[in-house]
Structures are given as structure tokens and as C-alpha cells.
């Protein structure tokens, strides 16, 4: 069961901040497909070019394998300060 975290406007859009996705997706692309099936609008939002993905608190690009304990965070454009 991959644990998914949404930040900023993605959280408002989906209506949740943290969720476990079962059955366990084997890869990030599989997880994205599962999220799209669950909520097409969210699926589109996390596919936007400005959204970065961190797996277990490390930024990743492209597809990566996921473990049952993986924490996957979708990070929309950032702004601090």
C-alpha cells in the first residue's frame, strides 16, 4: 500500500492530503494511473509540467519502482519566503 501525499493546491483539488493506495502499484506510472482512475481531475493536475514528485523524500524524474512502504509526494510549484 503506497502512501501518497498531496501538497498546496493539489490537496485542495483532491480534498485530501494523505491517502494509502491499494492494491500496491509496482511503479510510479502505475500509481499515477491509479490516481487518475480514482479522480481524473487529480490525474490531470499531477501530470502538469510544474509538478515534481518525491519518492521517500528524494526527487525523482520519469518512472521508478515503488515498494510497499514507499511514500510518494506530489509537489506543485513551490513558493517560500
Amino acid at each position: 500500500m503506497a502512501r501518497v501525499l498531496l501538497f498546496g493546491p493539489l490537496r485542495d483539488l483532491a480534498g485530501w492530503r494523505e491517502r494509502e493506495i491499494a492494491p500496491q502499484p509496482a511503479s510510479l506510472f502505475g500509481l499515477k494511473a491509479a490516481l487518475s482512475a480514482l479522480d481524473p481531475e487529480l490525474g490531470e493536475a499531477i501530470a502538469a509540467p510544474g509538478v515534481q514528485v518525491a519518492v521517500d523524500k528524494a526527487l525523482v524524474r520519469g518512472d521508478v519502482a515503488l515498494a510497499a512502504t514507499s511514500e510518494i509526494a506530489f509537489l506543485p510549484p513551490m513558493s517560500g519566503g
Binding site: 518525491a54 506543485p76 513551490m78 517560500g80 519566503g81
Partner: protein, 151 residues
């Protein structure tokens, strides 16, 4: 080098005082304090979100980069999250170096990074509703200055 992300309010003067105390070889300390603006009533509060653990690690990475790049003696970054009222401090950065140019450039560089690349999400609450803030075009331009000019 200290990086802190916290919900509790902080007083920028107390941070600068502590950061300067006991330094006898750093000739220059530059600080930046970011305050929440009231926008003459248009902003009632800011809401800042971080990704605990990840946010600190990402800032620490860029802070270490700045320390080496500018030859700093020391560096302090404190960033608030949660609800922040107008006039309260959102972020504090201080850089200590032997001479002033390095300290100015390091603080400037760190702020450019924090404004558009650090893992924070910022929502503005006002009488007309709430909205998420994205970096301004100037913030992206500011950050690009450093990519164009290798030091």
C-alpha cells in the same frame, strides 16, 4: 550552519543578536527578514505548508552549496509554517563572512532559492477569499541570475 522550519513565531532581532554574538573573525553579517504584508487589508493571514523532513533537507542542501560557493563562515535559515499574520516574520536568513560581498551575495542567493524552489506552499487568506501564491516572474528571473553568472 543551522536550518529550522517551525510553526512558532520568531523575533528577527533575537535571531540576529544570537547569530552575531561571539564572532571575532567574521567582518560581515547580512540578514534578510521576510515579513507578511497586510496589503492594506487585502491579506488577513498567510498559510504556509512544508513537507517535514524533505523541506529541511532541501534547504540544507542549498545552504551547504551557498556556504561553499561564497566561502561563508556561518549561515542561519529559519522559516515559519502554519498561519502567519501581517507584520509577522515568515523567513529569516543570516550569512556571516570575512568580507561583505560574500555575505550579501549568499543571503541574496538563498532568498532567491527559497522564494521559488524551496518546498513551501503559500496560501493567502483575505476578505475576498483564499488563493495559492506561485512565484512571481521576477522571482524566476532573480534565480536565473545565479545560473548565468558562475562565480
Amino acid at each position: 550552519m543551522t536550518i529550522r522550519v517551525q510553526i512558532d513565531p520568531f523575533e528577527p532581532g533575537a535571531l540576529l543578536g544570537g547569530f552575531c554574538a561571539g564572532r571575532s573573525e567574521s567582518g560581515a553579517v547580512v540578514s534578510f527578514t521576510g515579513l507578511a504584508r497586510a496589503e492594506h487589508g487585502a491579506t488577513a493571514a498567510l498559510e504556509l505548508e512544508s513537507y517535514p523532513g524533505f523541506t529541511e533537507a532541501q534547504i540544507a542542501r542549498i545552504a551547504e552549496d551557498a556556504r561553499r560557493r561564497f566561502g561563508l563562515d556561518d549561515l542561519l535559515v529559519v522559516h515559519r509554517t502554519g498561519e502567519i499574520l501581517p507584520g509577522e516574520a515568515v523567513v529569516f536568513v543570516a550569512a556571516a563572512a570575512r568580507h561583505r560581498r560574500a555575505a550579501f551575495e549568499a543571503a541574496d542567493y538563498l532568498m532567491d532559492y527559497l522564494k521559488s524552489r524551496a518546498p513551501f506552499w503559500k496560501k493567502e487568506h483575505g476578505p475576498e477569499g483564499s488563493r495559492w501564491i506561485e512565484p512571481r516572474a521576477e522571482d524566476h528571473d532573480d534565480l536565473e541570475r545565479w545560473e548565468k553568472t558562475p562565480l
